[in-house]
């Protein structure tokens, strides 16, 4: 067990440092852009720490349901991620063979939405088909 600040609290501290102390001193436009990218990536990491365990488990359940996989989900986080990748790869092979199971579109859409919950939630909530 680590002492405080916790990982999310440390990320917040680094992000605040970049945004309020470092950024105002950066004059070069391209360097400013990369500094903003760095601050945004820390926000992303913070969301990932908070949300990914639940999102990953839900994605495993959906993929297992779609692919008819009856085995229980791995309990260990790393094995769970590997199992999701393996199921995604199996689904990709089925899509390439034109044998995607009914429900594929919904499962894939949910997976993309789960990525955006972490990568860019504002893009996701503002998204309208045009």
């Amino acid at each position: 067990m680590q002492d405080r600040p916790t990982a999310p609290e440390l990320l917040d501290a680094v992000r605040e440092f970049i945004a309020t102390e470092l950024l105002p001193t950066v004059g070069d436009a391209r360097l400013r852009f990369r500094t903003l990218v760095a601050a945004n990536l820390l926000d992303m990491l913070r969301r990932e720490l908070a949300l990914e365990p639940l999102l990953l488990r839900a994605e495993w359940e959906r993929l297992a349901g779609l692919l008819g996989n009856a085995s229980p989900p791995p309990l260990n986080e790393r094995e769970l991620a590997a199992a999701v990748v393996a199921q995604q790869a199996a689904l990709c092979a089925l899509i390439r063979e034109n044998r995607a199971p009914t429900g594929t579109f919904g499962v894939v859409t949910n997976a993309v939405r789960a990525k955006l919950e972490i990568a860019n939630p504002r893009y996701l909530s503002d998204f309208e088909p045009v």
Binding site: F105, A111, K115, P129, V130
Partner: protein
């Protein structure tokens, strides 16, 4: 000696050959650099006045298998210049500038940053003019005799131009080991409804706001020819229309600046064609896939250690934005879906 000084010394003989013995290099500033190439602003003082130039120089890496080296990029710009396309005047191909191939072209004055072009109040008039201007410029590019572009990559013998574009996309995605089910769904959708083939044209390959020099009156010149190839005109007609190149102005479907209809009218009128939004839907999906796959492969350039870069790394987390757009376009409920 720093890099700029060394390059300046290497370029001095060419400057004198170009502009007379009184010419000298007044300035050399790095505009953009990466593992594949560098762009330098090159200022030359001559007895008759100043010359503002840009040098593009190879760095050895290739952004994509399909990206051109500087010799072919220069040759493509020369073709466009001779055809009257608004491009920077090409000056010279220099096979050895400090050990790397480079070329020199005019430096055009204006704005290139997409985020500014779609928003800045002073560019309102430019935004109104830009779609039709870009349509006419693209028509001029596509009217270049494709036989003159035989040195550029293109379809295999007997292969259609659209089929070639789709094959390249699938090949690029296949170089990545991680699975991308949404992109596979996009490729499958495209394979299941191939469009009518037309003879290939010289495609710019990256024709969008962000690669245009723009001033208050609109289009000044078309930049970044390193993805030029022979392909289906639908590729260039839709790449600048995808959501990612609207810079947050999703409702302005051409480049975040205006109507797709104005762009298509400009193109169709100038070229005597009749491409419709409906028949270009397939290419809009394909263009989204092209950019989605590019974000995946560019992030791999960081991950492989080929070009460590925070910007390239961050592109790997942008892929999902384009995947959402692809799925939305595939969905029969999309307001513009052409039906099956």
């Amino acid at each position: 000696m720093n890099e700029a000084a060394a390059l300046g010394e290497a370029l001095a003989p060419w400057a004198r050959e170009q502009s007379g013995s009184g010419a000298s290099i007044a300035g050399l500033t790095l505009l953009a650099g990466g593992a594949s190439q560098q762009s330098w602003r090159l200022d030359i003082t001559t007895p008759t006045g100043a010359l503002a130039l840009v040098m593009r120089r190879d760095m050895g890496g290739r952004m994509f298998a399909a990206a051109l080296g500087r010799a072919d990029e220069f040759a493509a710009i020369e073709l466009a210049w001779r055809a009257g396309v608004p491009v920077p005047r090409p000056y010279a191909y220099l096979p050895d500038v400090q050990g790397k191939a480079a070329f020199v072209m005019a430096c055009l004055e204006g704005e290139t940053l997409g985020r500014r072009i779609v928003r800045e109040p002073r560019l309102a008039q430019a935004r109104a003019a830009l779609p039709a201007q870009m349509g006419r410029a693209l028509a001029a590019i596509h009217a270049i005799p494709v036989a003159d572009a035989a040195f550029l990559p293109g379809p295999a013998v007997g292969e259609g131009a659209a089929a070639y574009g789709l094959r390249v996309l699938a090949q690029e995605l296949a170089t990545v080991s991680e699975p991308y089910p949404a992109l596979e769904l996009g490729l499958a959708w495209l394979r299941g409804r191939m469009p009518d083939e037309v003879p290939p044209v010289l495609c710019h390959g990256d024709f969008r706001v962000g690669n245009m020099v723009v001033n208050d009156a609109g289009l000044v010149g078309v930049l970044d020819w390193e993805f030029a190839h022979r392909g289906h005109p639908g590729e260039d007609l839709t790449f600048g229309a995808i959501r990612a190149w609207r810079f947050g102005e999703a409702g302005k479907r051409y480049g975040g600046v205006g109507d797709l209809a104005a762009f298509l009218d400009g193109y169709n009128t100038a070229r005597g064609t009749a491409f419709s939004e409906r028949e270009l839907y397939w290419f809009e999906v394909a263009s989204n896939l092209k950019w989605a796959i590019a974000t995946v492969t560019q992030a791999r350039r960081h991950l492989s250690g080929q070009e460590p870069s925070l910007e390239l790394a961050s592109l790997g987390r942008m892929t999902a934005e384009i995947e959402l757009e692809i799925l939305s376009l595939l969905d029969p409920r999309h307001p513009r879906h052409p039906g099956d």
